[in-house]
C-alpha cells in the first residue's frame, strides 16, 4: 500500500505528531488489514482507522473501546500475535506498532460486534455484586456438575496458546547511584542534573518514546515545543557515559533496601525476537531513587459512560498531539477541572469540531473557545449509540452529537511505588487525589506529577528540589542550571465523582464491570471497609488493578457511608506496577537450565557406554549400564549386582559430599558434631559416623577418615552435602568459635570410585603404586594417601556399602576420566562390571543399610538400630534432646527386613503394615515399607521398613498393604541384613 493510500484509509489522522509518515506499517485487527506509522501504538493506529469498538467487558460483555493512551487502559485489551506467541490481555494503548502485527479482540462468542454472551448484560439486575455467593447452592450436586463449569467456562479474558512460550528471556543486574523512574519533564530534568553532577544514573521509562506528557501536550519550554525540549535533554543524557537511558523499561516494583525490579522490553516492538531475549528482568541496586512516574487521569461515573468513544480527556490530547490522531470528528468534553478545557482547545486548534464542554463546576468557563458551547454546572446523564458513541444527554435534558466524549475527572499521582513497602498515600484536597505519604521506601524521593505537583512548572521545580537533595546525599554538587521558562496551566479541580441522576448504569471499574449501584449495594450489605468493597464487588481487581477506577470507587463509597475519603482509606498497592510475564521472572531458569547440572568425572565415559542417567539432586548419575540384548532395566541391574558380588564392580561415588577438616582441634570438633567419637580414631582409619540435629533426629551419616593427626576427611550423603557443610560452619563459627578447625569442600576435587567384590583387591593391586593391600596391611576401615598408575596422588579407603570386600579410590578430578578407563582395563581379566545407582541401591538393601528413603528427617538413631551409637560420655549436637520421651518409646518403629511369604510376590515400597486380616485403617497402622528391590542374590523381592517394635517381631507374618496400588502381600519380618549378616565378606 502506498503512503498516500494508507493516509487515506486512516481517516482520523491529523497533522503533526511524533510519528514517522515515511515508515508505513501494516497490521491486522480481527483479520482486517490496516495501516499505521512508525511511532504509533496499536491503539493510535486503530483510532486513526476509525476502529472504536475493540473489545468486550469481563462480566456483561458490553462493547468497549479505547479509553486511555497508557498502561492504565481498562478496555482495549487484545490478543496480540498468534500461535505459540499469543499474548492475551495486551493493552493496545502501549503496544508499539510493528509491521506485520496481528491482533484480535477478546472475550466474545461470535463476531466482536455480535457477541452472544452479551445476554449477560440483559440479566445484569440478577448478577449484581456478590450474586454468586447467594445462589447456585441447590441442589447440592448441581454446583459441581452444572453451575461451576458454566461459570468457569465464561471466566477470563484472553486465551493462552497452551503451548510452550518459544521466546527466551534474560535477567540482569544494574548498580547505580540514582534511579530515575519516568522520563517525563521531572524525570528528564532530575536525570540530567544528576548525570551532569557525575552520579551513576539510570533513567527508565515504560514508553518507547521518552518525554512523558511533554509529547502529549502543547506546552512550550524556553520557547521550544515540549517534545523537542525533551529530545534535546535525551540527546545530552545519552551522551553522558555515567548515564544509562532505558526506554521500554518499566520499573515494576520497589523492594527492600534500594532494590528495584525493572522489565525491559527488548523485542516486543519487533515482529520476531530472532533468538535474542524478548525481555530482560533487571534487578536495580540503587542508592537513591527519584520517582517521577507522573499521574493518571480518572473518569467520572455517569450513565453508559462505558460506550466506545468515551475516553479520558488527557488521552484525547495524547492521540491528537503525539500520534496525530483525533479519536472523533465531533467531540464533546465532560470535566470537573481545567484540564478538560485544554483538550477542547487542542482539538479546536486542530480544527476538530468540539460540540460542547460540559463542566460540573458551577463557575465561569476558564476561557472561551470559538464555536464551542460551554455548559457550566452541568452533568452528563447518559450516552447513546449501540456499538459506539453517537449522542450524549445532560441531566438538564439537553443533548449533543458526539462520536467522542473526552472525560476528565482529575489526575491521580502514580504513587504505586511509594506504597510497595506498605507506605500509605495521603489525601490532598487541592487536587482531589492521593499523594505520596511520608513513609516512602528508604532512599526514594518523589518529583513532579507523581508528587501531586501537576503543572509543568511545579513539576520541574520539584524535580530541581529533589535532585539537589539527592546529590547532596551522595556528596555531589548540583550543577548550576536555571529551570526553563514554561507555558503553564493549573488544573483547578472541584471534586466530582458521579452523576447521581444518571440514566442507565454508571461504570466505575470498566474492565470488571463494577457500577455505582454495585458500590451502593456493597454498602447496603455492610461491606464498608475498603478492602471489603474491593473483594465483594471486584473493584480494582482487573488487569489494570483499578488505575482509573479505585479512587472513584472509594470516593463513592465514602459518600454513601458519610465519611471522608481519607477516613475510608485505600486498598494496598502491590507490585508489579504493570503486569510482568511469568517467563520474564524465570529468565533462563527453565527447561534443562532450570537448575544447574553437576556431572561426575566418569560422565563422558558412561555416556560412551550408553549408560542410563538419573537425576540425583543436582547430579546426573549413571543408573545402570545396559548391554546389548538386555530389554528391561532389571536385566541390567541384576547382572551388575551378581557380577559385582561374584567378582568385581565399579561405581562412581564422587557425588558423596566430601569435607576436608583440618586444625589442631579437628578431633574435638568432630566429637561435638557427630553422635559418636572421632578423636579416638587412629590415623589411617575410617569410621562410620552418625550426625544428629540438635533436636536429636538423625541428620546425616557417612564415613570419616583420619588422614593425619589434625586432618580428617568427612563424607556426607549426596543429598545433604550442602546443608551439612552449612551446619558445621554454624557449629564452628557460632558455637565453638575458638576451636582451631577449618573446613573446605573437597567434593569436586576428587574423582572417587567404589571398587567392590571379591576381586576388588586383585584389581586395585594392579593400579596402586607399591602398597600392600593384603588384609593384614590394609584391613577393613583402613585408609591411606597413596599414588596410583605411576605417581598420581590418590586416596584409598577400605569401606563397603555393598557388603562386599570393597574399596573407594579417589584421584584428583582431572584424572577421573582416565582413572575409570584404567580401572576398567585393569579389571578386564576379572570380568569387571560398571554398576549404577540401581545396583548400588539393591546391594545396600540386601545389606540392610539405611539410606535416603530411611533417613527422612524424623528418624532417630534408635529407629535404625543405632541408639547405642549416641555416646553419652560427651556432649554432641542432639545429645540432650535425643533423650526426650517421645523419641524413646518402647513401641517405636525399628528398621527391619521383610520378605514375601509367597516368594513370587513383589513388595511395594510405601506399603503400610497391618496385622494379618485387620482392617486397613489408620488405627491399625503399624509402620511402612521404606525401600524394596528384587534381590538377584536371593532370587526374590525383599524390603526394609519401619515396624513398631520391629526388633521383637522377627518371624511374625503381617500384611503389607497398599490400597493405592491395589496390593496386599503377606510378609515375614526378618533381619534387614539379607546378605552376609555377619559381615565376613567385607572383612575378608
Amino acid at each position: 500500500m502506498s503512503t498516500e493510500q494508507s493516509q487515506r484509509s486512516q481517516r482520523n489522522r491529523v497533522d503533526g505528531g511524533l510519528i514517522d509518515r515515511s515508515d508505513t506499517r501494516t497490521f491486522e485487527f480481527n483479520n482486517k488489514l490496516l495501516t499505521g506509522f512508525a511511532g504509533d501504538t496499536l491503539a493510535s493506529a486503530l483510532l486513526a482507522n476509525g476502529q472504536r469498538l475493540v473489545g468486550r467487558s469481563f462480566k456483561y460483555h458490553r462493547p468497549r473501546g479505547i479509553v486511555s493512551a497508557g498502561v492504565e487502559e481498562a478496555n482495549a485489551l487484545v490478543e496480540l500475535r498468534s500461535g505459540n506467541l499469543t499474548e492475551p490481555n495486551t493493552r493496545a494503548t502501549v503496544t508499539e506498532l510493528f509491521d506485520g502485527l496481528v491482533a484480535k479482540s477478546q472475550n466474545h462468542k461470535g463476531p466482536l460486534a455480535f457477541d452472544v454472551m452479551a445476554v449477560n448484560d440483559a440479566l445484569a439486575p440478577f448478577l449484581s455484586a456478590g450474586f454468586y455467593y447467594k445462589t447456585f447452592m441447590w441442589p447440592k450436586a448441581f454446583w459441581e456438575k452444572l453451575y461451576e463449569p458454566v461459570i468457569r467456562a465464561a471466566a477470563g479474558l484472553g486465551s493462552l496458546s497452551g503451548e510452550e512460550d518459544p521466546d527466551v528471556y534474560d535477567k540482569g543486574f544494574i548498580h547505580c547511584d540514582v534511579l530515575v523512574v519516568g522520563g517525563g519533564p521531572a524525570g528528564l530534568w532530575s536525570a540530567l542534573m544528576a548525570g551532569r553532577a557525575g552520579a551513576r544514573v539510570v533513567l527508565a521509562d515504560e514508553d518507547f518514546q521518552l518525554g512523558g506528557r511533554l509529547n502529549a501536550e502543547t506546552h512550550t519550554l524556553n520557547d521550544q515545543s515540549g517534545a523537542s525540549w525533551a529530545q534535546q535533554l535525551i540527546a545530552e543524557l545519552e551522551s553522558l557515559p555515567n548515564v544509562r537511558v532505558m526506554p521500554r523499561t518499566t520499573v515494576y516494583g520497589a523492594f527492600d533496601h534500594g532494590v528495584y525490579g525493572a522489565l525491559e522490553r527488548k523485542t516486543d516492538h519487533l515482529r520476531l525476537s530472532e533468538g535474542k531475549p524478548r525481555q530482560v528482568l533487571w534487578r536495580v541496586y540503587t542508592k537513591r531513587t527519584v520517582l517521577a512516574s507522573g499521574a493518571t487521569e480518572r473518569s467520572i461515573a455517569f450513565g453508559n459512560n462505558d460506550r466506545p468513544g468515551v475516553m479520558l480527556a488527557g488521552a484525547v490530547r495524547t492521540y491528537l498531539n503525539r500520534f496525530a490522531v483525533t479519536p472523533g470528528q465531533h467531540v464533546a468534553v465532560f470535566t470537573n477541572n481545567n484540564d478538560g478545557w485544554q483538550t477542547a482547545k487542542d482539538l479546536v486548534n486542530k480544527n476538530i469540531n468540539v460540540t460542547a464542554v460540559i463542566d460540573s463546576r458551577d463557575t465561569d468557563a476558564p476561557f472561551e473557545l470559538n464555536g464551542v458551547q460551554a455548559c457550566m454546572g452541568a452533568q452528563v446523564a447518559s450516552t447513546s449509540g449501540r456499538l459506539g458513541l453517537k449522542r450524549i444527554t445532560l441531566t438538564s435534558g439537553k443533548s449533543f452529537e458526539a462520536d467522542c466524549l473526552a472525560v476528565s475527572g482529575g489526575w491521580s499521582p502514580n504513587v504505586h511505588l511509594t506504597c510497595h513497602q506498605r507506605g500509605r498515600p495521603v489525601w490532598n484536597d487541592t487536587i482531589a487525589a492521593f499523594v505520596p505519604g511520608a513513609d516512602l521506601p528508604s532512599g526514594m524521593l518523589v518529583a513532579g506529577a507523581a508528587n501531586g505537583e501537576l503543572s509543568l512548572s511545579d513539576a520541574l521545580r520539584s524535580a530541581q528540589r529533589v535532585v539537589n537533595e539527592v546529590l547532596n546525599d551522595l556528596g555531589l554538587s548540583a550543577p548550576a542550571e536555571a529551570l526553563p521558562t514554561t507555558s503553564d496551566s493549573t488544573v483547578d479541580i472541584t471534586a466530582f465523582w458521579h452523576v447521581k441522576e444518571s440514566k442507565g448504569r454508571a461504570w466505575v471499574d470498566w474492565q470488571n464491570d463494577v457500577t455505582t449501584k454495585d458500590v451502593a449495594q456493597a454498602h447496603l450489605e455492610g461491606f464498608h471497609a475498603v478492602e471489603h468493597l474491593k473483594r465483594y464487588t471486584t473493584l480494582g481487581m482487573a488487569t489494570d488493578q483499578g488505575k482509573t477506577a479505585n479512587v472513584l470507587g472509594l470516593a463513592i463509597m465514602a459518600e454513601y457511608s458519610g465519611k471522608s475519603i481519607p477516613e475510608t482509606g485505600t486498598t494496598i498497592f502491590r507490585p508489579p506496577y504493570t503486569p510482568v510475564p511469568i517467563a520474564a521472572f524465570a529468565g533462563r531458569s527453565r527447561g534443562k537450565n532450570f537448575r544447574p547440572t553437576r556431572l561426575t568425572p566418569s560422565h563422558d565415559w558412561a555416556t560412551e557406554l550408553g549408560a542410563q542417567f538419573v537425576e540425583v539432586g543436582p547430579w546426573l548419575r549413571a543408573q545402570w549400564f545396559p548391554r546389548a540384548g538386555e530389554s528391561h532395566w532389571r536385566e541390567s541391574v541384576d547382572r551388575e549386582v551378581l557380577q559385582t558380588r561374584a567378582s568385581v564392580g565399579i561405581c562412581d561415588v564422587t557425588t558423596l559430599g566430601k569435607i576436608d577438616i583440618q586444625g589442631a582441634d579437628a578431633g574435638v570438633f568432630l566429637d561435638r558434631v557427630y553422635a559418636n567419637t572421632f578423636s579416638s580414631l587412629a590415623v589411617g582409619k575410617v569410621r562410620y559416623g552418625l550426625m544428629l540435629r540438635e533436636d536429636g533426629i538423625a541428620m546425616d551419616d557417612g564415613t570419616t577418615a583420619r588422614l593425619g593427626e589434625h586432618h580428617y576427611v568427612m563424607t556426607t550423603t549426596t543429598a545433604n552435602a550442602v546443608s551439612v557443610f552449612r551446619h558445621m560452619e554454624f557449629c564452628r563459627q557460632c558455637l565453638w568459635p575458638n576451636l582451631d578447625v577449618h573446613l573446605i569442600s573437597a567434593t569436586d576435587q576428587w574423582a572417587q570410585y567404589a571398587v567392590a567384590g571379591p576381586n576388588s583387591r586383585s584389581l586395585l593391586q594392579k593400579i596402586v603404586d607399591d602398597i600392600d593391600l593384603s588384609n593384614e596391611a590394609f584391613a577393613f576401615m583402613a585408609c591411606a594417601e597413596i599414588t596410583v598408575c605411576g605417581g598420581t596422588p590418590a586416596r584409598l579407603f577400605r569401606i563397603s556399602f555393598s557388603g562386599e570386600l570393597a574399596y573407594e579410590i579417589a584421584v584428583p578430578t582431572r584424572y577421573g576420566d582416565s582413572m575409570i578407563r584404567e580401572l576398567m582395563q585393569a579389571g578386564e581379566e576379572f570380568d569387571v562390571v560398571p554398576y549404577g545407582t540401581e545396583a548400588l541401591g539393591v546391594m545396600r538393601i540386601e545389606k540392610g543399610h539405611a539410606a535416603g528413603n530411611e533417613l527422612i528427617g524424623t528418624t532417630t538413631a534408635a529407629n535404625i538400630g543405632l541408639g547405642r551409637m549416641v555416646s553419652k560420655k560427651k556432649d554432641s549436637i542432639g545429645n540432650v534432646l535425643s533423650e526426650r520421651e517421645g523419641l524413646n518409646s518402647e513401641s517405636d518403629n525399628r528398621l527391619v527386613g521383610f520378605i514375601p511369604v509367597d516368594k513370587s510376590r513383589e513388595l511395594q515400597a510405601g506399603s503400610h503394615f497391618v496385622q494379618t486380616g485387620h482392617a486397613v485403617v489408620t488405627e491399625n497402622d503399624q509402620g511402612w515399607m521404606s525401600s524394596v528391590c528384587y534381590s538377584p542374590t536371593l532370587g526374590h523381592s525383599i524390603g526394609i521398613g519401619y515396624l513398631q517394635r520391629g526388633q521383637d517381631r522377627m518371624g511374625e507374618v503381617l500384611d503389607a498393604v497398599s490400597p493405592l496400588t491395589d496390593s496386599s502381600v503377606a510378609v515375614e519380618v526378618v533381619s534387614p541384613h539379607f546378605v552376609d549378616p555377619e559381615g565376613e565378606r567385607l572383612r575378608g
Binding site: 486465551s159 471497609a529 511469568i582 528413603n853
Partner: protein, 416 residues
Amino acid sequence: MRYSALKILKEGLSGNKGWKPAWREPEPKTEYDVVIVGGGGHGLATAHYLAKEHNITNVAVLEKGWVGSGNVGRNTTIVRSNYLLPGNQPFYELSMKLWEGLEQDFNYNAMVSQRGVLNLCHSDAQRDAYIRRGNGMRMSGADAVLLDEAGVKEMCPFLNFDNARFPIKGGLWQPRGGTVRHDAVAWGYARGADSRGVDILQQCEVTGFQMDNGTCVGVYTSRGSIKAKKVAVCVAGSSSRVMEKAGLRLPIESHVLQAFVSEGLKPVIPGVVTFGAGHFYISQSDKGGLVFGGDIDGYNSYAQRGNLPVVEDVCEGGMAVMPMIGRARLLRMWGGIMDMSMDGSPFIDKTDVPGLYFNGGWCYGGFKATPASGWCYAHLLATDTPHEVATAMRLDRFMTGRMIDEKGMGAQPNLH
C-alpha cells in the same frame, strides 16, 4: 436474611435495594461465655460451630481490622487432605468433609470447587514417599490416586514432558481436593455465627488479657474491657505478639509467604498442580486468574510483603514444569504472615493459663484447615477435651518429643 435464587430474582427486579447487612455491627457487651480473639476464618468458624454444634451463643469474635482481613483473605485458596502423618491426616480429612457440606451449612456459596490436587513426583524415592502418603490417606478414609507419567500426561498434557531438568515420573492425585473462594469462607462463617447470636466486633483490638489469680478472665480491647469465661486466641500470623501479652512464649516464628495471581485467562489448568522438584503450585480461579505460589521468603517478618528472590524462584519453578504460562502476566504479588511452627504442624490446645486457649501455628496450610480447626477448637472450648482428630496438636509436644513433622525438617520453621 436467607439467600436463595428466588431472593436474587426478587431483589434484581426491585433494583437490589432491599439487601440487608450480611452481619450485624453490635456494640460489645461487658461479658461473654467465650471471647474469640481474631475474626479470621478460624475464629469465625469456631464461633459458628460453637453456636451451631454446641449451642454456645453468648460469644464474641474480636477483630482488630475488618472481618477476614488476615490470611483467610490472602491465601491461594487450596483445600486438600493429603497429609502423611496420623497426627494430621484424619484432621484434614475431617476438614475436607466439612468443606463438602459447607454451602448448605452456612447458606453461602463459597464455591467449593473439587477439581483435584495433583502432586507431581520426579524420582523413584519421591514416588515411594507418595505411595506411603497415599496409602495413609486411603487408610484415613480420604481419596488418593497414584498416576504414572502417562496418567499425568493425560490429565495435564501441557506440562513439560520433553525437556525437563527433573522429568515428571508420575503424581499423587487427590480428586476431592480443589479450591474454595477464600473471602466467602470468612463471610459465610461470619453470617452463620451472627445469625445464631454471636457478636462480631470489628475494629476491636485486644490490648491485653485480664488476669485474676493466674486465671484469664477476659480481655482489654480498644473498645473497652470484656469479661469472658473462656478466652480463645485464634490469630495465626500474630500469635506470638498476642500471646506475649499473656506472658507466653510459643514454638512459632512469623514468616512471610508470597502469593501471585495472573491476569484473567480462559480456563487452561484443570485443578491444582504442584511441582515436586521446586517450589511452585498453581490453580486457576473462577475468574480466570492463575493463582500460584511457592516457598516462604524464609526470614522472620511481619511486613506482609516479600522480596524478589522468591518471586523469581516461584516463576522459575512454574516455567520449568509448565512452560505454557510464560506469556501470562503476573498481575499482583502479595504477602501474608504465617505462624511457622517448629515442626510445621498446628496447635489447638489449652495453655498453661486457666481460661486461656490457643489455636495457631498453621504455617502456610491454615486455609484448608479452617472448618476442622473451627470444629475442633469449638469442641475443645465446649468440652475442655481435645477433639479426637486433634489430640496430637499439643503445645507441649516439643518438650515431650512427640512432634508432627511432615517434612522432616526439625525445629527449623523456614524449612517447613
